[in-house]
Symmetry: C2
Subunit: 542 residues, 2 copies
Amino acid sequence: MGPKRCAVASEESLMRIFTVPEAPSSTLSVIEQEISSNLAGFLNENIAAIEKPLHEIEKDFQSAMIPEEPMFVSDYAQDIMEQLVAHSVHTASPSFIGHMTSALPHFVLPLSKLMVGLNQNLVKIETSKAFTPLERQVLGMMHHLAYGENDAFYEKWMHSAKTALGAFCSGGTIANISALWIARNRLLGPDGDFKGLASEGIMAAMLHYGYKGLAVLVSERGHYSLGKAADVLGIGRSNFVAVKTDDNNKVNVAAMRAKAQELSERGIKVMAIVGVAGTTETGNIDPLPEMAALAQELGCHFHVDAAWGGATLLSDNYRHLLKGIELADSITIDAHKQMYVPMGAGIVLFKDPTATDAIEHHAEYILRKGSKDLGSHTLEGSRPGMAMLVHACLRVIGRKGYEMLIDKGIEKAQYFADLIRADEDFELVSEPELCLLTYRYVPRQIRQAIDRADEQERIDIYAALNRFTASMQKRQRESGRSFVSRTRLTPAQYQHQPTVVFRVVLANPLTSKQMLNEILAEQKGLAQSDPVFKKYLAKYMA
Amino acid sequence: MGPKRCAVASEESLMRIFTVPEAPSSTLSVIEQEISSNLAGFLNENIAAIEKPLHEIEKDFQSAMIPEEPMFVSDYAQDIMEQLVAHSVHTASPSFIGHMTSALPHFVLPLSKLMVGLNQNLVKIETSKAFTPLERQVLGMMHHLAYGENDAFYEKWMHSAKTALGAFCSGGTIANISALWIARNRLLGPDGDFKGLASEGIMAAMLHYGYKGLAVLVSERGHYSLGKAADVLGIGRSNFVAVKTDDNNKVNVAAMRAKAQELSERGIKVMAIVGVAGTTETGNIDPLPEMAALAQELGCHFHVDAAWGGATLLSDNYRHLLKGIELADSITIDAHKQMYVPMGAGIVLFKDPTATDAIEHHAEYILRKGSKDLGSHTLEGSRPGMAMLVHACLRVIGRKGYEMLIDKGIEKAQYFADLIRADEDFELVSEPELCLLTYRYVPRQIRQAIDRADEQERIDIYAALNRFTASMQKRQRESGRSFVSRTRLTPAQYQHQPTVVFRVVLANPLTSKQMLNEILAEQKGLAQSDPVFKKYLAKYMA
């Protein structure tokens, strides 16, 4: 950047930024105009295709000094186009299929601006007014989607001052923490002289109830936010117990029951079991009805983490995959994942409208008792009006529109799985149940080598495959044409050894079948152009 | 609303919303155009001045059914203008001085749209790239503002993969919880065979370290989020101990020391003390240097909740009010308060860059060890790129610009305090230290009556004043011209009895002195037009 015009801090120039909008011809207005008229074009043109190394990017963000002097908005806009936007990630790209982001519907852009312009604070009615009933309605709609209670139920509870059918959160992590927080406080509630865990803390609760500790059981495929929840809530990460899955990445309920029994014998109370409805790594859904039965046996809370898969409930064709979710005491669903809402829209739902009593809190200047303030039942305090964007998507897309989007994603994953199966150099590692699958590149020669290898050779080949998979994923990302992510599983076909795999999420409605073909072709090319890999492969060509 | 045109869910119409922007002449584009060219005018025109009762508003948000069919964006836009925007709160209004919202600089609107269009996820570099160093720089700048370490410090730590100088959060509540989470885990860390509280939970930690419980001490003026933190973290709300303040709403450190001593004798470990730097209700700042000394005596964590007042550090003229904050182990600052950023921008800072080790977590498909992913050190998971808006404000407004804004607010509060003192019908309850003050309407006759009342009469008069203050505040809000909030204090001049007061926050740079005069005049008018109050007052007119 060349030297900048010098802006001066004066009362007048300060007042201008609060009162005078940017001129239509200003740099920032022109940027905004481009976003409005052609977002995809804007992103394609302005995000650099080739990755700049992080340490290079960091050079533009080196100073820890807050600049003394102000800066013209247009100069700032130019700076961030070059330094930030150019080196951000094209998460909306149809060939960016590695994470749970997608293209967004266009109308969320102007609505986001309206949301920021209104700058409501949902913690209480005095700073949000109509946004409060709107958010309660969205929670009601999502509750109805999952639990399907009757009209009288929603008439009674949806706008009730005493309760909340759920909570909006910044994301699924806070949603999961909120659910387990409520589970913990309800399980160890007031009892005689004991005022409850919320009041007296875990130590007193353990002594009162005669437990040596608390535990949460979840599949080994459970999201890392649950371990974080166990830490935050004072349960301890080692009491967050990962239970093995069957070969289809669904938790083994018998193993979970046995684990619960073992913990119980050691005086540790299982506080909650968590079902995963759409694991982050493979998209599989735990056997929810059996888990609900187990939770009942154990007298514990049943939470379902459907942050990713919950949107599948919107499809009448596939919602049966989540059968049993209606038995959960609480459910996490992220609207910013498969509901096509911008980042920052997590939701937790509670089957029992009085569940939030266990975390109710008040304050004098705010959240007075008897008010309908949402803040008395949320982990967060001040929050923006993101519920408006979910409301807009639910109404503009409609259930049938979502059904099409969900179905399209699942069918695309099936198509991609077929492509992989049809190609002798690729191997499908986890079958798609939702629109997520994992696979890897394993040329025929290597597969044959594995078959005839002894144990030590096999371990060596596995290690090499892991290295090559990780390196291919990195090189593909850096080349900027497309992006798949990677993770490490322990699949049966690799004797439950740690296995690095490619992972794709096919939620973006703009991802075409052609692109999927190209991604596989690109990966083949990457492998064939890697001299280390070629040399390695040559060993097995004989 | 009349009947709507019927939108039909078809693949083609669905694809349109993901690929074709709203036409410039569409309802939503016209709304957006109005926001861009004249936000204040848009808000003034479209937010109804007179309050509609909440139960009336709720009628538009009654159905818990997700609509089956899609809806045209323009129809939706018209609906929300009438049902939502019209009945939202004009938080940017210069006469809305009751809460911590303000007019925003204009440039944050187009930047917010850019942020949503980019839809980065800050949990990891693969979905945020340059946003990660940008966020780290903002954290570095805020850290430097509070702690003022030298260049070498920031060069070493700001972009370090191993650590984080703080965390961006959705708001101050998550910031406070994060700080106390780290405090708890560090205090009860690994020791010999004990793997630490994070791993083994509170119960095991108490047994290992020989404590009967944990406590957090804070002023009785502390924010309610701290009580929530004590609940979530498993400490228990009753172990979140409110210490009395002196008459100036600053915590009495001697009383805090005595309380700590008493807890210690009962086997309860004080895990942290929290200083408030800008209480939410009165804006006063605790004696931070003495608290730092006490924390050292107690061997506990010292957190400063400067969610509101932290921005004062940007003014060289007033930053001395927060002297001692540099001694804090952690600090909460909300950029969406006095830093004029839209809702959703909380920050927590850590003095020691290795503090976040105590909550570090990893996951295979994301947040791999050695990466610079921000998500390995945050309570939240997926998060939007709000740091960009803070970055923009810091650079465009500059430190000197912020200084003017902060100074103006404080001086305006002093002006308002003078107005109140000069009017014999009003009474200043808490002196402004920052730009926050409390007062009430107490006509001379009532004050005289209090002076000659016996104890029972005094209690009756106090109760009446509380009722009238609350009712005036409500009527003023409902009339829609201006808004002050209310809270309940226990001031010395009312013998520490519960006292309902008006509360104002003068951060909006567009609030004029004239408006402050009018607000007092309006309140007088409200009192005089209240038949119940008039009748009550008549008793004392003799």
